[in-house]
């Protein structure tokens, strides 16, 4: 084997280690201190972690984040799959429509959030008030559907046309055809989309900054936002870093769990 291969990966490894792994380790270290992010700090052991579990505000943020992420993931995937199936049927203007549906993916979510903020406050104020979490879902789904459509389209392209034909000759209705022919074949894409959507939605941040800033009250405070605002505005950097590490473990566990379940379904 050529020594050149080592030289190809070495700089990348060093840079990645310095700019990603070292910060992660530093984060872990800070989570065991009382640092506000600057100045002096003392080592406090696991106190931050113990306090996390006593803090109902943290719990509320997790509840909101999960509620939001689950609803947004399901809606995004249902809508994206429906539109992708529609787009791969025999329709006119397919390229143009596909192009339009993808637009939200190229736009900065912060700016999209500002635009929807204005729309909501002037036409559907309830989406920033009592039902603010739905407002966040609307914007998040509006944007995420775009990318998911493309992935489902990719999946649908892998289905040979004659399979459809065969099912049609069997006299299967379109719903049956979708359930028993199409869906099983694109199941891997469904798995990838569900896992990635949920993971992304669990980290929701920009949308909320632009729409509600976590309000009203703490109703739409996601875990990411709480880490940012509590850690910086509230000056509890170490405490919120401990929160971020717990959050990391939660995300990994959820993703593994989801993969297990969905892959088992794929095999059926």
């Amino acid at each position: 084997m050529s020594r050149a291969f080592y030289w190809m990966v070495l700089p990348a490894f060093v840079l990645f280690f310095v700019f990603h792994t070292v910060p992660v380790l530093q984060g872990v270290y800070y989570s065991l201190t009382d640092s506000p992010g600057y100045g002096e700090h003392a080592f406090v052991g696991l106190r931050n972690y113990v306090n996390l579990f006593k803090d109902d505000r943290i719990l509320d943020a997790y509840l909101f984040t999960f509620q939001f992420a689950v609803v947004a993931t399901i809606l995004t995937n249902v809508i994206a799959l429906a539109i992708a199936v529609g787009l791969s049927a025999r329709i006119r203007f397919r390229t143009a429509l596909r192009g339009i549906f993808f637009i939200p993916n190229v736009l900065a979510i912060l700016i999209v959030g500002y635009i929807f903020n204005y729309l909501f406050s002037n036409y559907v104020p309830v989406l920033l008030g009592e039902l603010a979490w739905i407002g966040v879902v609307v914007v998040a789904v509006w944007q995420a559907v775009a990318f998911n459509i493309i992935i489902y389209l990719a999946g649908l392209q892998t289905i040979p046309e004659d399979l459809h034909e065969a099912a049609r000759i069997d006299g299967a209705g379109s719903w049956r055809r979708f359930r028993s022919v199409v869906f099983p074949l694109i199941a891997p894409f469904f798995t990838v989309n569900m896992v990635l959507s949920l993971k992304n939605f669990l980290q929701v941040f920009d949308h909320i900054v632009a729409l509600t800033n976590g309000g009203p009250g703490t109703a739409t405070t996601s875990v990411s936002l709480l880490i940012y605002t509590g850690g910086f505005q509230g000056g509890e950097y170490a405490y919120q870093t401990a929160n971020a590490i717990v959050y990391f473990v939660v995300i990994v566990l959820v993703s593994i769990f989801q993969l297990r379940i969905l892959q088992r379904r794929e095999q059926l």
Binding site: F5, P11, H20, I91, R92, L97, L110, I115, V192
Partner: protein, 270 residues
């Protein structure tokens, strides 16, 4: 077989309005004067007020921010393509070795680390190294991009038959030459995918520039910074939003097919 399903076409066209209406709304609002902001807001402007754009242009320092965004995005894309593909090549061709396989999982697992964990240490580190500027941000995009790009590239490279390289090796080419002469050109489709995804990420990103840059400001950042200065001049604010969205929208309109097929390819491999 060629019968067009018009009913479905109509339905999808109706659905596409959910995308088009907010965009249309943004455009007409940006062209209005504040006193025209009544009713449904969907009416065409009775009189076009171009000065909204001039005001927003000056207030947010548009040309500077746009240039900063463009510089960061273009550099991040080019460097990502040149470096990440190289790393992926080395990994893909040595996946049977424990070291390289470990490296693969090392990079890819970073996908699951939430940014808040590393945010503060990264801010400290970049400023300590004098990288709290455009160059530092570009470097971070290239390095953090490794996680997902390695995943994309490795899958693709492994589908390229090794026999192609062997022919070149017989001619006496070293590993580097093989990569640049044989593999890199073959990666063109995947480069397009990675390039597009990196472009969209770097251009639209908000949190990383917010915390890393100490002076320069990108287009999304200036929208955030000037949000309070827009006050209730919604029409100026919308002109500013539109100008911030415009470059990527224009590029997209012209390169639409190419962008979508690039993303499609990434997802089949992914």
């Amino acid at each position: 077989m060629t019968r067009v399903n018009w009913w479905l076409t109509g339905l999808l066209a109706a659905c596409s309005l959910t995308v088009l209406v907010p965009l249309y709304f943004t455009v007409v609002t940006a062209l209005k004067s504040p006193d025209q902001l009544t009713g449904s807001g969907l009416a065409l402007p009775s009189e076009i007020r171009w000065s909204n754009f001039a005001t927003a242009w000056e207030l947010t320092g548009y040309p500077r921010a746009a240039l900063t965004s463009a510089l960061i995005t273009v550099s991040a894309v080019l460097l990502t393509l040149l470096t990440n593909s190289l790393v992926a090549y080395a990994i893909a061709r040595n996946m049977e070795r424990r070291l390289f396989k470990g490296l693969y999982y090392y990079f890819v697992s970073a996908l699951f680390v939430p940014f808040p964990i590393i945010m503060l240490p990264v801010v400290k580190q970049t400023s300590m190294l004098g990288l709290d500027n455009q160059a530092g941000l570009i470097l971070l995009y290239v390095v953090y991009g490794l996680a997902f790009n390695i995943f994309l590239y490795v899958g693709y490279i492994r589908s390229i038959p090794v026999s192609l390289e062997e022919a070149a090796r017989v001619d006496g080419a070293g590993t580097w030459t093989v990569f640049w002469r044989v593999i890199f050109p073959l990666l063109a489709p995947m480069n397009a995918t990675v390039g597009i995804l990196t472009f969209l990420w770097a251009w639209n990103d908000f949190l990383l520039p917010l915390v890393v840059l100490s002076e320069a400001q990108t287009l999304p950042l200036v929208q955030y910074v000037f949000q309070s200065q827009f006050n209730t001049d919604y029409t100026v604010a919308f002109a500013s939003y539109l100008m911030a969205l415009a470059p990527v929208l224009i590029v997209y309109v012209f390169a639409q097919r190419w962008v979508i097929s690039g993303v499609l390819r990434g997802s089949v491999k992914g």
